[in-house]
Amino acid sequence: MASVQVSEAEKVYIMHGVRDDLRVDGRGCEDYRHMVIETDVVSNTDGSAKVSLGHSDILVGVKAEIGKPRALVPDEGYLEFFVDCSANATPEFEGRGGEELGIDLSNTLYKVFNNKHSIDLRSLCICPGEHCWVLYVDVLLLQCDGNLFDAISIAIKAALFNTRIPKVHISEDAEGGKEIELSDDPYDCVRLNVENVPCIVTLCKVGQRHVVDATLQEKACSVASLLLAVTHKGMVTCVRKMGGGSLDPESISEMTETGKRVGKALHAPLMDLLKKEEGLGKNRQKVGFLR
């Protein structure tokens, strides 16, 4: 992660602040920074979303392509994750610098979605064993100011909500070969059910307490952090301890409990915000980076 140099005195200052539930930018321990979400930002994709959480900017594009289903699960489509840490974020990511972090992020995303209920993979299947939809989820990291996992998971949820997969009808031509036609009417499409898509909450252990949505400074003076992917029903789909320190079991269960609570509380406002934006329909003024 792009780290920032923090002197010892600053660390002590931040720790004392967290102990009294007052962080450097005035937030409480479980408050998120100001978050801006916008969908359908890039037109070449089937679904896209831009999230800026404080100064972290993430852009996610989802492209659906027809591919061959995996051998072991012939009746399901699958998701492919690719995280591109562009040099825009920090000069460190130039050339192959950002590759290591990108692979770490995408591996975690694979784990988060590695269950049956996040996305109904069966609905992605066109004809078992031969054709299925493959959703390429490309995450573009434009600016990173800490807490990337949360911003990425929210952006993915918004992008999947915004994804429109064209309807497919299969016609049998003469010698039994299957012919696939896509309907080119833009409105004749299938929407994904993103109810169950989990959101990631990263809890950072600073001193004795843990904080949500830690900035780079707070992360620099934390020993360990726990990453929790929580669905709107409170199910935990991925847990991962990050950082060089260790945690005692009590604080793990404490952090898990907080994570679940904060995660669950995140889904409801997100979903109705997305629905409201969807509701605006055509006269919605596209903002993107322009404001």
Partner: protein, 245 residues
Amino acid sequence: MAGVELLSDQGYRLDGRKASELRKVQARMGVFAQADGSAYIEQGNTKALAVVYGPHEVRGSRSRTMHDRAVINCQYSMATFSTAERKRRPHGDRKSSEMSLHLKQTFEAAVLTQLYPRSQIDIYVKILQSDGGNYSACVNAATLALVDAGIPMRDYVCACTAGFVEDTPLADLCHAEESGGGTTLALALLPRSRHIALVQMDARLHQDHLDMLMEAAAEACRGLSKVLDGVVRQHLQEVSVLTRD
């Protein structure tokens, strides 16, 4: 593309523009907080983001430091979802390293590098959506980012593409016109001094039409420089209002 008719006989193009009409240009400076200079530009459907870091000390290979001027280091990359067909890798293939090379040369000519010896200026450009004229969008975005970063330049660098269909020059090509097999000319111009920083042309064109084509491209660049000029003034006006009282 034999099928698609690029220029209708009444002189309208695919997207309804006249022959020498530019696409809608929207731009904004100072998009990112962490970068020294940043800018975002939309030319029609082509969207580009440019970020500038520097001038800072040379990282990586020390051998590149110049004892008399700054080294310009560019990286051009395209988002994997920017084109209709998904790109496997954002950068690293020959096309993008060539584009980075062109950007580097364009700005080596325009930026006053001798003011910052033994230092490095990084220019990173990201194409979010590609609908033709990638090079020109990158140059315009990078110019705005350099202005935002306060790096001294001889002049704005405006770039534009021009095509040639049924011997009428078309300005500011979109993807359909660019990949239609006709001639495409990319021109990076310093409008006030009418100096050309970079010229690049593809596909066959008879020598006599070259003059007309370059004139159309130069005209388009001058039009673009007015738009960029407007954006910079508006941004400065905004910033000065915030900092005045």
